[in-house]
Symmetry: C2
Subunit: 326 residues, 2 copies
């Protein structure tokens, strides 16, 4: 069986997008439900998802285990898995890890770009690794089956999370720095340690993470995938598009600024390019995953490896990491 | 199969009490986890339960469906089902009904003793029945499988809830007013309507609900059970002890007063008897259910009816009412 799974999206959700997931035969998507929101605000976002599940039961449903992806395929729907890009949702309360897992949360970043209560983000000057609470929370996440995601974390923190976590972790949406040296892309050291520990990297299509940005060629992107397979293992990579379809620029500002500053922080953008950059023309939305599959095939990647990258590796990872430590 | 199920307790939980549940062979207990607490505070109470489940896995676990009661029996443990005695936990937000159901809530009273956003409590002067939000919330509770509990509600509100709810409701802990005319005990009209709709009454052992209070005889209690069986059907009754074991008197004050008044309200007590009254000597804790079973047998009640009262009726009710509307 070969599944199509996207390791991260944060679109401006609508019936149109859910229909495009069906056109693209996307079996499962890990969606970001919260950034800087506290627990109560995160629950409100879950309530919005519950309304969408009620409204579009023929297109989407709430995914909780890998088995839901089988159900999705069998019923022609997309299983939606929840994730958080920042630990704001657990506030300073470790008990919320299990509560949010019960509500369906399956991934949580230990940091967004800044220092959090748990670890250091990739935009901080000094990276002090996992905090005292960070270690406690990683152990609790391991216990209940909430995956540690270090996509926006700094180098030392990421290496320490890989080391300290008793279960494999994920970098759901980033690319290798060897291909495009953005602050958010990952060093060979991180990728090697991630692969050796059975972790997963999801390749991002967000233009700031791409060589030549919005003009990145699909060939360059797929060659990068092949090189990364050599570096960290073809079974430890997947897609994590970071698709932010139909979002107004105010949303990227919320991601970057939240409530932590009164000024503007441009993150990966800049004063003259403050908003969302245009997506590459070969990946605009959920209908375009076939282009990547075809380009990997044109490159001569083995069919089973392509299946792995397009979803089967995420499937196996979901299967092993969403349940309680057994 | 015959199960032992208690339809309501709010003890000062401890390892001792969980062990007493095992000594008494109690397969399942509906426990109150919240009264006047808002959503965030209720979640904190759930976190405390999660710690107890982690700490005493050989004694208790979190019950979610009737099947958990079978598991409890097979593994010599007690399944703990969550309930709320007031709708404060959903605040003014209907989306929290599904969220709390996902977190395990299986019963919610539409009111404690006062007017709520949903209905009227039994201590109010005027009973205006289900409010606009009350009707919406009952429909949503029906949809997800959260049982409407009217133990502390006023007459008209209770009759309207029975009528309006598309699924049977429960009065988890109260007695018939014909036996002891306390404000909290229920009229023949309510009990008849409850029985005809397939609802359940749980008989309370709280002394203020008993004929002669703490001095109530077990024979009188069991004769009352037999009469109620005649009135509303032997398949619609069970036990709901309202056991508040080991609680300090400050807790009964919290139940009665919450944050809604700056004065003292004595509820079913009085200025000279402000605290918890002593339990009858034949029912002090979870080890004493056998006394009730024996006394029902001495009265000549049929064995299958006794099994129904002691747990099998609740089992069937749990089986039909904790899942989504099918």
């Amino acid at each position: 069986m070969t599944y199509m799974i996207d390791g991260l999206q944060y679109a401006n959700w609508s019936e149109k997008i859910f229909q495009e997931m069906r056109v693209g035969a996307v079996d499962a998507v890990h969606v970001t439900i919260t950034y800087h929101e506290n627990f109560r605000e995160t629950v409100h976002n879950i309530e919005r998802w519950n309304r969408w599940f009620e409204q579009y039961p023929d297109l989407i449903f709430h995914g909780r285990t890998a088995a839901c992806i089988k159900t999705a395929r069998e019923t022609n729907r997309t299983a939606i898995f929840f994730g958080s890009q920042n630990p704001s949702c657990i506030e300073d309360d470790i008990g919320l890890v299990e509560v949010l897992h019960t509500l369906g949360l399956r991934f949580m970043q230990l940091t967004y770009n800044n220092q959090s209560l748990l670890a250091t983000g990739c935009y901080e000057q000094d990276d002090t690794g996992l905090t005292r609470m960070g270690k406690e929370v990683v152990r609790e996440m391991n216990r209940v089956g909430l995956v540690v995601d270090m996509s926006h974390s700094a180098e030392r923190s990421t290496l320490e999370a890989i080391e300290y976590s008793s279960r494999p972790i994920a970098i759901t949406h980033a690319n290798p720095a060897f291909w495009h040296p953005a602050l958010r892309n990952k060093s060979d050291d991180v990728l090697r340690a991630l692969g050796q520990s059975g972790g997963m990297l999801g390749f991002s299509l967000y233009p700031h993470h791409l060589e030549n940005g919005s003009d990145c060629s699909i060939t360059s992107f797929c060659e990068m995938i092949a090189r990364t397979a050599d570096l960290m293992g073809a079974e430890n990579i997947g897609i994590g598009t970071d698709l932010c379809q139909d979002q107004p620029d105010s949303i990227v500002e919320w991601m970057r600024v939240g409530r932590w500053t009164k000024s503007i922080d441009y993150g990966e953008g800049s004063a003259d390019k403050p908003g969302f950059p245009p997506m590459p023309n070969w990946f605009k939305d959920n209908r375009d995953f076939g282009n990547i599959r075809n380009a990997l095939s044109d490159l001569g990647m083995a069919p089973s490896e392509i299946d792995g990258v397009m979803g089967d590796n995420w499937y196996r990872f979901f299967e092993n990491n969403f349940g309680p430590l057994g």
